[in-house]
Amino acid sequence: MTISGRGRSAGAAPAGWAGRARWIALAAVVVVLAALPYLVSSFAVNLATQALVFGLFALSINVLAGYGGMISLGQAGLLGVAGYALAILSTRHGWPLGAAIAGALVLCILAAAFFGLLLVRARGTYFVMITLAQGMVVWGIAQRWQELTGGENGITGVPKPAFAQEYWEYYYLALVVVAVCTLLIARLVRSPLGLSLKGIREAEDRLAPLGYDVARHKLLSFTIAGFFAGVAGVLLAMYNSFIGPSDVFFLTSAEGLLMSILGGVGTLAGAFVGAGIVIFIEQEVSSWLARWQTLLGVVFVLVVLFAPDGIVGAWTRYAWAPLLRRLGARDAARAAETATSAASASVVTGDGAGTARLGAPVPDADDEPRTTRREEAASP
């Protein structure tokens, strides 16, 4: 499937139940997320808040890795630049919260652009190594430059906005901010920049002769992803009223990567699903299972072995796409069109709709076992 073809697939689904299914699913997700504080305990709402914040962080890694093929192990550094800048500006220099957030995000963008400049010519392992080093530099500053960052003790007392003091108010704040960021990212990956990112992933060498400024594209996308990591950092620092070196350590980056791989690299929903699973195991399962780290490892290995495109990828492939095919076949029968052409057309729609619940296309659906599922598609 070509890039342009996929771009179109998200924009031209047929009416009928196959088309409606994604809207119903989207509405259901929105309703559940909006009603969550009324359905579950306050602690579960806190977990959901963290899953949203870390989901956004994982998404910033996911966009680079899944769409651009750039694996960053230093993303926590950018989260840290924003989180620390917010903490320092608001607690030490008495900036009002709004100004401190703006300042933190500007600093984060500058840091991301600076890091990006050092990265534009690096690829593969070298890219990973340089990002790792960048993350460690930020961690080193957080850990050792005591006058600036409070060293080991971190900085406490980061304020929350006045309208989001309660746990459930903060949850809604995080929900809205993360939703807006996700929509922006969804737009971004469908934009020409997003498409050229995929081009960089697939064949960096061929893009340059075609007239693309590969370095500029890389720099821009790294900076944008860094900005979203920074938003996550701001949300995290306000949520905990605290930022410390362990938030910035490379393990946080690795965890973000783990979240995106668990959920599905190159999917938007995957980052949040992965974050939800990791947070749940870390904070809930750890209370009654001493070897929760082992469980996390086992889950990770199982996912990589049996669902290489992550949980969301597997869900799309084995549950969502077949459902849409079935619905599509029914629509087709009702519309009295030729059964075969309608079914295959709806399959094309199904890929994009299922994986990205907020309307983004899926790049890695090329190897979908469509033909093996034909029989199912034909049955009512």
Partner: protein, 446 residues
């Protein structure tokens, strides 16, 4: 809620038929968001009330790091806490104490989220812990915003938790300040006639506060700290630091090490031939029991250290605790275990005074602050009006006892040592907290 959902769906399906897909996305989301906002407005704030009160079971949450880098010490904390309730019964003033442990993994962010869990899910109005200074600061920040919750802090020893950054509902029950045992150490060094000293501490807050306490009182007595060495946490090879110590030019060395670094330091000190040649005085954690009990060689034997806990102290309170701990867990207790054991004693004392009624957190805090233990496994303990722990500091010496255990034996007792040593609290607090840049050298000015 159901009505708004249905309305949202109907509106979306109408919009769906009329508009193009891109516009539908926007309209759909706007309607869903509006529906959600309406639903929230209709339902009001979610209900989240919790117990505590004056009767029934009393939930206490514990935040001890039983995994991660400080897991061994964290497990001792858990054991000490459990031992107190096992020996003294978990019903106090007619209320059954139910403890719920959450692992902080030695990480401040995890500490925060576990604290939230204990308070919100397990309805704990009292939380105990954690271990590391950064965890302690993180929990203090949480408690500052949640004045209905009361924290007991038996281990996290950052000076500022009872000095410049005190949070009133976070009480040092059975706790201590990092610099407090180091201050008499500096005074003692001057007593020995030491004039020139080198200090070696870990390159983080706990190290700065230990070396600061020593430097402050030692230089105040006219001594000179000729060099301050700082080793990062996790130093396995101390030879590059120890080679900077010229036996001919110093009268003594003050050392702070923690965790696995301590045996590494002691080994290097012996291997480089400094043992017996250069007088050495070390801090609490260098010969702390969670390390000593695993040492098979005799590197630490004879080493003198300053600490607020001495498991070899000949007193019924200490020996009863040590014997019970040995019997229950088959090893010698560290100060971490004594600290949480004492926190249990502290809480029990306060609850008895309040007749089990903790419905008023302010009253609970006031009662906790006023607790005076005539004797505990540390010795007599109370809090000053800044919330700092006042208790004995021991000059201890490592000996091998008849069972073959390495034990910190009391050589000298400094009774009722305040966090301000002999200084005026207000003047003392006008100093910045001890750091790598500020060690309290030659303070107070003459």
């Amino acid at each position: 809620m159901t009505a708004s959902t249905e309305a949202g769906r109907r509106a979306m399906s109408i919009a769906h038929e009329r508009l193009t897909r891109g516009a539908t996305l926007r309209v759909g989301l706007t309607i869903a968001a509006a529906g959600a906002a309406l639903a929230i407005a209709a339902c009001g704030a979610p209900n989240d009330s919790g117990g505590g009160g004056s009767k029934g079971t009393l939930n206490v949450g514990t935040l001890f790091p039983t995994s991660g880098t400080v897991a061994a010490s964290g497990t001792d904390m858990l054991h000490g806490w459990q031992l107190w309730w096992k020996l003294n019964g978990s019903t106090v003033a007619g209320r059954k104490i139910v403890s719920r442990q959450e692992d902080t993994a030695g990480d401040p962010t995890v500490t925060l989220s576990k604290a939230r869990k204990l308070v919100q899910q397990s309805q704990s109005k009292i939380v105990v812990g954690p271990l590391l200074a950064n965890e302690g600061y993180a929990l203090a920040g949480y408690l500052k915003q949640n004045s209905g919750v009361v924290g007991l802090n038996p281990v996290a020893s950052s000076d500022d938790l009872s000095q410049r950054k005190r949070v009133s509902n976070y009480v040092r029950a059975g706790g201590w300040q990092s610099s407090t045992p180091a201050q008499p150490a500096g005074d003692w060094a001057a007593d020995q006639g030491w004039k020139r000293v080198i200090t070696l501490c870990n390159d983080y807050a706990f190290g700065y506060e230990n070396c600061g306490g020593f430097t402050n009182t030692f230089t105040d007595r006219g001594g000179k700290v000729i060099k301050q060495l700082y080793a990062p946490l996790g130093t396995s090879d101390y030879s590059s630091y120890l080679s900077q110590i010229d036996p001919k030019k110093v009268d003594g060395v003050f050392v702070e090490t923690v965790g696995a670094d301590s045996p590494n330091f002691l080994k290097a000190w012996s291997d480089l031939g400094l043992k017996g040649k250069v007088p050495l005085i070390a801090n609490e954690t260098t010969t702390e029991q969670s390390l000593l009990r695993n040492v098979k060689n005799s590197d630490p034997v004879g080493l003198e250290t300053f600490g607020h806990f001495a498991e070899g102290r000949q007193s019924p309170a200490t020996q009863k605790f040590v014997d019970a701990f040995r019997k229950a867990y088959g090893q010698m207790p560290s100060y971490y275990a004594c600290a949480t054991y004492t926190a249990g004693q502290w809480l029990t004392t306060a609850l008895k005074q309040l007749k089990g009624d903790i419905s008023d957190p302010k009253k609970l805090v006031a009662t906790l602050n006023a607790v005076k233990l005539k004797d505990s496994c540390f010795g007599p303990l109370s809090l000053d009006r800044y919330g700092g722990s006042v208790g004995n500091v021991y000059l201890r010496k490592v000996v091998r006892n008849e069972r073959g255990d390495l034990v910190n034996q009391v050589v000298k007792t400094y009774p009722n040592v305040s966090q301000f040593w002999h200084y005026n609290p207000q003047q003392f607090l006008a100093q910045p907290v001890y750091s790598r840049q500020y060690q309290g050298a030659n303070w107070p000015p003459r």
